[in-house]
């Protein structure tokens, strides 16, 4: 299965196992613009899998209400770039429901699925990676898969988790690699990162599409410089796996963080600040962040905007030669 099929399969299982579960969003009925909900309306009925009017704030508020009753809500926001009208509902409502009511009410059975990230020609409004805005919001879980197996495990975990969750899905990965995805239901541990490759010289941290760039950088570093990279997929942006990351930083003493979102206040800033606070005496070089620039995501300049393997490798060399 590729990633959109793995997500389709996860939602199929969720709808099958939990007869309360609802799936909705713009154009979800006919299968969604990325085909993630294909055939699910036919299988589970249009009272469970349906189109909403074109209104993200409505989708989010509606989803919270559904979840207030204990019903499982899987809500799709068509593009991460269009999530902002629902910001108030997500940040002020979903994230704070349990806390403000002293635990009387919550909307934990709510999961947002949100396609995000660069695709090569998406420009300002079909490319953004807004995870850091949401990572600044206590009460939310934010996760990002790197491929089909992870996407299925994360989505099923989010659906079961008793907190409102957002899964940002890098849309360029929907039809990228095919993996042997187990057909049965399984759920990942939320809040854990994955060490994809062990190494002793430097820790490379990324998530989503960027993890594939970093794996390539690790290969290049080995081949060109005989450097052993430890590559870590953060997976969970909030809450994040401080233990594994700090263990790795303490081991290698060198850290490079890369993400597509802009530099200033990107989630890399949080990681860098935390790591230097906890691992200061073990660090051999300043932590470097390789990211999108502090500009809107541009159309024709995308090749210059992205934190590509060349920029990552150059930064790696600087860290190593510090």
């Amino acid at each position: 299965m590729n990633m959109f099929q793995a997500i389709n399969n996860a939602m199929d299982l969720a709808l099958e196992q939990d007869s309360s579960a609802l799936l909705f969003g713009e154009d979800v009925g006919f299968g969604g613009v990325f085909r993630c909900s294909m055939n699910l309306r036919d299988k589970y009925g249009k009272d469970r899998v349906f189109n909403t009017p074109l209104c993200e704030q409505g989708i989010a508020g509606f989803a919270i209400g559904v979840a207030n009753t204990g019903t499982t809500a899987i809500a799709e926001i068509q593009f991460a770039d269009y999530i902002f009208p629902s910001f108030d509902q997500i940040v002020n409502e979903a994230a704070k429901y349990r806390y403000r009511s002293g635990g009387l009410f919550d909307c934990g059975s709510l999961t947002f699925r949100v396609p995000c990230g660069a695709v090569g020609h998406g420009a300002l409004y079909h490319s953004q990676s807004p995870e850091a805005y949401f990572a600044h919001t206590p009460g939310l879980r934010v996760v990002i898969p790197r491929g089909p197996i992870k996407a299925k495990g994360l989505l099923l975990a989010c659906i079961k988790d008793p907190n409102p969750c957002i899964m940002f899905e890098p849309k360029t990965l929907y039809r990228a690699a095919v993996e042997e995805v187990p057909v049965e239901s399984y759920a990942d541990d939320l809040g854990k990162c994955d060490i994809l490759r062990e190494g002793r010289d430097i820790t490379l941290i990324g998530w989503g599409t960027q993890i594939h760039v970093l794996l390539e950088v690790a290969d290049l570093a080995k081949k060109e410089l005989d450097i052993d990279c430890e590559v870590i997929d953060l997976v969970s942006v909030l809450p994040w796996d401080t233990q594994t990351i700090c263990d790795s930083a303490n081991k290698t003493g060198r850290v490079l963080i890369a993400h597509e979102a802009p530099f200033t206040q990107g989630f890399g800033s949080e990681l860098a600040a935390y790591i230097q606070e906890k691992c200061f005496l073990r660090l051999e070089a300043p932590i470097k962040r390789v990211t999108g620039w502090d500009t809107p995501f541009p159309h024709v300049f995308e090749p210059f905007y992205l934190p590509d393997k060349h920029r990552c490798l150059a930064a790696l060399k600087e860290i190593i030669n510090f």
Partner: protein, 416 residues
């Protein structure tokens, strides 16, 4: 023609004594039998049209009596739009541009409305209003250069194709997020109203799907309460990507929201009838400038196009349905019939015009494709009025990186 906001009262209902009026509904009367007011209690707002399907004027008094010259411009602009759309759509299919959106079936809404305006009127569009630009004089090279994001693109390569904008033509640059432009248009109208001797209005185009966004509500309500000379031009083409209008709303379209919902004068027209759109727009413009109040204008049509080059609409509607709207009910064929009856139509001239436009667009594609993209350093420009220090530093960092890794970047495609 504009459905007024005055309501009529049925017999036997007493007017409220003003002294005791509730502030939230001063004009409402009292009744003493309980009744739910049902949607069916209101007849749908009628659809104004001038021509029938065969291009005959139904009521001579409604014929706008436009000169042959103006009607020919309308016809040619509609043909130009449709011809250019076909070629640019195909060019995306061939991988030459990254994205495109066509305007098929809505040509009359664009041209009829644009023709009734003055150039000083400010346009806020959604993204499917290229015809308005055609009417105002946006040139083929400007369209194609924008789609390529090359150095002659007025938008400097920042946005996806079809995100046109022109200061000269008073057409605010398109933004992909839906409906964000609607309250902005209201603000612009308010500011214009306050200018001495103002004689310009604002026109905001949006789809019936976009009207579901919260911004649409905010815009309608602000325009009504703050009394703004803005025309809300809803292109109701039946589809928001795959979502049909009956899953978008259950009221009487977008027009139905105007008079009762927001207290806004409203008109609904056949958007495939260029003269109906023209007349309604003309009247709306007079009204908003005379009264300093908004108008809701709903133009009903059918989106013959796929949503975009990313969409195959046969996944959610039948090819027969599309074909019907692409032939019998097509706005261009209706205007053509009208011209035939007037003796203004010349088959040979039409064929020559279309083939001329084809050649021009194809030639322009070849030219625009070869033009360099803007200097990549421009990526950092326009974020702020002046480039702040942190962006200057980032630009310098990238310059050094690119200099050291030239072979990995498409520098040959960009101006140096």
């Amino acid at each position: 023609m504009l459905s007024g906001v005055q309501r009529s009262y049925s017999a036997g209902v007493k007017r409220v004594d003003d002294r005791y009026a509730f502030p939230g509904a001063r004009d409402a009367s009292f009744v003493n039998s309980l009744k739910l007011t049902m949607p069916e209690d209101y007849a749908p707002i009628p659809i104004y049209r001038v021509m029938d399907r065969d291009g005959y004027v139904l009521n001579e008094q409604e014929d706008p009596q436009l000169s042959q010259e103006v009607v020919e411009k309308m016809f040619r602009d509609m043909l130009l739009l449709s011809t250019m759309d076909k070629i640019l759509y195909e060019s995306q299919r061939q991988g030459r541009i990254s994205f495109y959106m066509t305007n098929f079936g809505e040509e009359a809404s664009h041209i009829g409305s644009a023709a009734a305006l003055e150039m000083r009127d400010v346009i806020y569009g959604q993204y499917r209003e290229a015809g308005v630009l055609v009417w105002r004089g946006f040139r083929i090279d400007q369209f194609v250069d924008q789609c390529y994001g090359n150095d002659d693109d007025l938008g400097r390569g920042k946005q996806m194709p079809v995100h046109y904008g022109s200061k000269e033509l008073n057409f605010v640059t398109i933004s992909s997020p839906l409906s964000t432009q609607i309250p902005q248009a209201v603000g612009a109208a308010y500011a214009l109203k306050r200018k001495p001797n103002n004689d310009a209005c604002v026109v905001c185009y949006f789809g019936e799907g976009a009207a579901s966004e919260g911004d649409a509500h905010a815009a309608f309500n602000f325009a009504a309460t703050l009394e703004c000379p803005v025309i809300f031009f809803c292109r109701n083409n039946g589809f928001a990507i795959s979502t049909p209008s009956n899953e978008q709303y259950r009221g009487d379209g977008i027009a139905g929201r105007g008079p009762m919902g927001y207290g806004i004068a409203t008109v609904r027209v056949d958007g495939t009838d260029v003269f109906a759109v023209y007349n309604a727009m003309k009247r709306a413009r007079e009204y908003v400038l005379r009264e300093n109040k908004p108008v809701v204008l709903e133009a009903l049509a059918y989106r013959v196009s796929h949503h975009s080059t990313s969409d195959d609409s046969t996944a959610y509607r039948s090819a027969e349905e599309i074909e019907m709207w692409n032939t019998l009910e097509h706005p261009i064929s209706k205007l053509k019939s009208y011209m035939v009856h007037k003796g203004w139509f010349n088959e040979k001239e039409e064929t020559e015009f279309v083939s001329g436009v084809r050649k021009q667009v194809l030639k322009q594609i070849a030219i625009s494709e070869k033009k360099l993209k803007p200097n990549w350093r421009e990526m950092f420009e326009g974020v702020y009025a002046d480039m702040p220090k942190h962006l200057l530093e980032q630009q310098r960092e990238l310059e050094q990186h690119v200099e050291a890794h030239k072979q990995h970047y498409p520098l040959k495609s960009f101006k140096q």
